[in-house]
Each structure stands twice: as structure tokens, then as C-alpha cells.
């Protein structure tokens, strides 16, 4: 692969703010500005601003738009109200995950989809081929949108400072959105995020992204708002127990194995692509499950390290990092059901040392 990396509309903005840029999913993205730990803690205690313009967007409209989406999505979309958003998986006929996405209903027959950056080309080809069977129009609109995420306990207050007095952003429920003008820019503001904190994700015209990011940073300076890179985004989502495509879900790891059964409506009228395989897997119980853990050690578990049960291989690590809040290693792993059901002691092999896994329910940074 010698393809040049894509740049978001905020590329120059990142350099101006001292970002270290790295390749990610075909994009040149900021991994950090001042440091992952500091940015992570800023988002947990104050607010963080993330450029997520690498994410893909697609538009679906037409009389059968909802029928089409309910055929490709595992979650139910027919009853999604205008102004609401819903998380869903897209599955292949064999039940493997094509992508996990957010669907926004912008009108009775109109939807906006938010796709993972690395999956966007594949999603577009897959969705285009399926949409052709319905009376609807599907379009890749990735180039039409920049996307910024404002996350943290002060995020909503900061966004309010840019909104007209008539718009009460605090009243926008979770997984709802409004189309408003903030700081002179027409924006779709969605009460969603990928950090486990309150906040908004903003969809806006690319040519206004840089000015809007500056306006947000200025508005939030006294409340501790910091620009945050992909490094903190990853450690935040892992603490919160949110899946990352290619780690906790993939072509090989089904939504049921990943513990996302709540987003898989097996009894949906008309079924959906992948339904039969997933129904059979649900009936038989998934052979392996994604679990989250904390290590009472300083050494960190990293992706692909081997998990053992009573000394025998029983799985592998999917994601691993330091929890900046706990100051302890955390991670996720795919473990055989037999090993989990037996209650056997699970360990992870870190450079020859067997370190015990303490299984924990996310959010990992909020101990039960």
C-alpha cells in the first residue's frame, strides 16, 4: 500500500496546536497534543475536544429507506423517531460484523449514518449493493462533513456558550440531536459520544471546522477544555467498555460474543442480514465471550497476548492499556465460554509471567 494518507479539514489546526500526527485507518490523525494521560484526565474531569472527521458519513432517503436499513442493521430502526439516533451493527450473512454505526433519523424518509473510518469504503460498497434492492437512494457523503466530539462533564456547558439563548442544549436527551446554528455555523449536534462522558458530537461543513474548533476551545478555556488525540480517545473508550471495530468486534467476533445482544433484534419483522446465523448462535450460547478486566500489576496486557485458564490456552487479549483514572492496566479479552463458566483462574501471559485477570464490568474507571 503506497496510497497517500487522507487529511481532515483540521490538519493545519492540529499542527498549530502541537499535535503529533500518526497514520490511522488511512488518515493522518493527531495521536496526542500534550500527552495521552493529561488529555484523558481532562476529558474525565473537565472537557476534551476531538477531531473525528475521519469517520465516514452516508445519507439514505426514499420511500423504502427504513426497510432497507432494517434489512442491513441488527437493531430495530422502524420505530426510530425523527431527531433520534440509534447504535446498530451491520452484519454479513455469516453473522460476522461488517461495522458498528450510528443511525440518525433526520426526516420521516431520511437518515444519516456515521461509519468507522477504516470501514467506510467497504461499508459503502456493501450498503450500495443492498440499497439497490429497495426504493431508496444511498450516497457516500463523507466528504460533506467534518466531525468534532466535545466530551466531558463540562462539555454541554461549553456548547451552550456558543448557542443562541433560545436553544437549551441541556434539554437534548442522550441519543438525540438538533440541527442548530452554533457560532454562526449550521451544525447537527448529537448528544452522543465515545468516551463514557456526557457531551456532543457535531457534524458540520468541512470549510468551517477550523473556525468552529477555535470557537469551542476559546469558549471552554476557563473550564479546562483541551484538544485531545486518538490516544486518549482509545483509552477513554476502553475504560468505558465501548467496543472498537477490529478489536472487540470484527468479521470473526459476532455481536453476541461481544456482549452486544441488546443491539441485535432477532425477532425483528422481516429479519435482517445475518439473522439466522446469530439466532442459532444465541440458541446454542456463544462459544466465547468478550470480557473486560483490570490487572493488579504494573505490566500491561496488550492485544494478542495469550489468556490461560488453569494454565491452558483459553483466549487472547483484544485491547489493553493503562487506565489513567485507576492508574492500573485494563483491557478486554476473548475467552472460551467453558473457561468462563468453570470459574477457573484466568491469567494473561506477559513476557513469560502469568498475571491474574480480575474480570470487571465496565465502566472500569468507576469501581462497583
Amino acid at each position: 500500500m503506497t496510497d497517500a494518507l487522507s487529511r481532515t479539514p483540521l490538519y493545519e489546526w492540529h499542527l498549530r496546536h502541537g499535535a503529533r500526527m500518526v497514520p490511522f485507518a488511512g488518515w493522518e490523525m493527531p495521536v496526542q497534543y500534550t500527552g495521552i494521560l493529561e488529555e484523558h484526565r481532562a476529558t474525565r474531569t473537565a472537557a476534551g475536544l476531538f477531531d473525528v472527521s475521519h469517520m465516514g458519513e452516508a445519507l439514505v432517503s426514499g420511500p423504502q429507506a427504513v426497510e432497507f436499513l432494517d434489512q442491513v442493521a441488527t437493531n430495530r430502526l422502524a420505530d426510530l423517531a425523527v431527531g433520534r439516533a440509534r447504535y446498530t451493527l451491520l452484519c454479513a450473512p455469516d453473522g460476522g460484523v461488517v461495522d458498528d454505526i450510528i443511525v440518525y433519523r433526520t426526516g420521516p424518509q431520511a437518515f444519516l449514518l456515521c461509519l468507522n473510518a477504516g470501514n467506510t469504503p467497504g461499508d459503502v460498497a456493501w450498503l450500495q449493493s443492498q440499497a439497490a434492492k429497495f426504493d431508496c437512494v444511498f450516497r457516500d457523503a463523507s466528504a460533506d462533513y467534518a466531525q468534532l466530539a466535545l466530551q466531558g462533564p463540562h462539555a454541554v456547558e461549553i456548547a451552550m456558550r456558543l448557542a443562541p439563548a433560545t436553544v437549551r442544549l441541556t434539554d437534548v436527551p442522550r441519543f438525540s440531536f438538533v440541527e442548530i446554528v452554533l457560532s454562526g455555523t449550521s451544525i447537527l449536534a448529537s448528544r452522543t459520544g465515545y468516551t463514557g462522558e456526557d457531551g456532543f458530537e457535531f457534524y458540520l461543513p468541512p470549510d468551517q471546522a477550523s473556525a468552529f474548533a477555535d470557537a469551542l476551545l476559546k469558549a471552554g478555556a476557563d473550564l479546562g477544555l483541551k484538544p485531545c488525540g486518538l490516544g486518549a480517545r482509545d483509552s477513554l473508550r476502553l475504560e468505558a467498555g465501548l467496543p472498537l471495530y477490529g478489536h472487540e468486534i470484527s468479521r470473526e467476533i459476532s455481536p453476541l460474543q461481544a456482549g452486544l445482544g441488546w443491539a441485535v433484534k432477532l425477532d425483528k419483522p422481516g429479519g435482517f442480514i445475518g439473522r439466522d446465523v446469530l439466532a442459532a448462535e444465541a440458541a446454542a450460547q456463544p462459544a466465547r465471550r468478550v470480557v473486560f478486566f483490570i490487572l493488579d500489576d504494573r505490566r500491561m496486557a496488550r492485544a494478542d497476548m495469550v489468556i490461560s485458564a488453569n494454565g491452558k490456552p483459553a483466549g487472547k487479549v483484544l485491547s489493553g492499556t493503562l487506565s489513567p483514572v485507576l492508574n492500573q492496566p485494563i483491557g478486554s479479552a476473548l475467552v472460551e465460554r467453558g473457561a468462563l463458566d468453570s470459574g477457573a483462574m484466568l491469567t494473561v501471559d506477559i513476557r513469560g509471567a502469568a498475571i491474574p485477570l480480575r474480570l470487571a464490568k465496565p465502566p472500569l474507571h468507576k469501581p462497583a
Partner: protein, 126 residues
């Protein structure tokens, strides 16, 4: 942009070595290395008395993102490890050529230091 002090010797793997003149030396990682790694959160250290060949892995430095091996610049025996790093691994980020040193070693052959890069050669590399 990264600091490369003139009085140290360097490896291509971004360790530095500072000979004391009495057959011992301090070993650490360079400013360039700590900057590339980002926040360092754990340093896995060898035991004093351990002997390593030139280029052998003697430990691991973990950042939030990844674990990286540490390599012995020249054949040496570990005399002392920087125990401050146990509670303050961030010293490697903050003062890589000072309080963030990693090992004190006895050189097997004091002349072996001559095989390492000098500051000018290391600046070329980065």
C-alpha cells in the same frame, strides 16, 4: 528539536550511555525516544548483577500505547537500577538525561564505548 548532549554516546535503538571514567557508566533512553513513546507508565528493570551482551534486551519501557524493548548499548553487568522509576516512571519523560536514568552498569570492556555513536552521528540518525 530533541536534545542530544555532546558528552554522551548513543545507540541506533535510542539508548544513551555516559561513561564515568572508572569502568562504570549510566544508561538511559534519549530525549527523542521518550518523545516518540509519549507518556511512560512503567519500566521493567533487570536485577543488579545481571549480565548482558551488547544489543541484548535488558528491560521494557511501557507507554500508554505500547511496550518497547530496551537494549544494552555494550556488554555490561548491571550494578544498580534507578529505583525511583518504580513510583515515578514519568522521570524518563521529564529528565531523560538526568533523574530519568535507567541503569548503572560496569562495562566488560571500557574500549567498547568507542563503537557507539557520538552526538553528531546520533543527530544525523534522528
Amino acid at each position: 528539536m530533541s536534545t542530544v548532549p555532546d558528552d554522551l554516546r548513543y545507540t541506533k535503538e535510542h539508548e544513551w550511555l555516559k561513561p564515568a571514567g572508572d569502568g562504570t557508566a549510566l544508561v538511559g533512553i534519549t530525549d527523542y525516544a521518550q518523545e516518540s513513546l509519549g507518556d511512560i507508565v512503567f519500566v521493567e528493570l533487570p536485577k543488579p548483577g545481571a549480565k548482558f551482551a551488547a544489543g541484548a534486551s535488558f528491560g521494557v519501557v511501557e507507554s500508554v500505547k505500547a511496550a518497547s524493548d530496551l537494549y544494552m548499548p555494550v556488554a555490561a553487568e548491571v550494578l544498580e537500577v534507578n529505583s525511583s522509576l518504580e513510583s515515578m516512571p514519568e522521570l524518563v519523560n521529564q529528565i531523560p538525561y538526568g533523574g530519568g536514568w535507567i541503569l548503572k552498569v560496569r562495562l566488560v570492556d571500557a574500549k567498547s564505548v568507542g563503537q557507539l555513536l557520538d552526538a553528531a552521528a546520533y543527530r544525523q540518525l534522528i
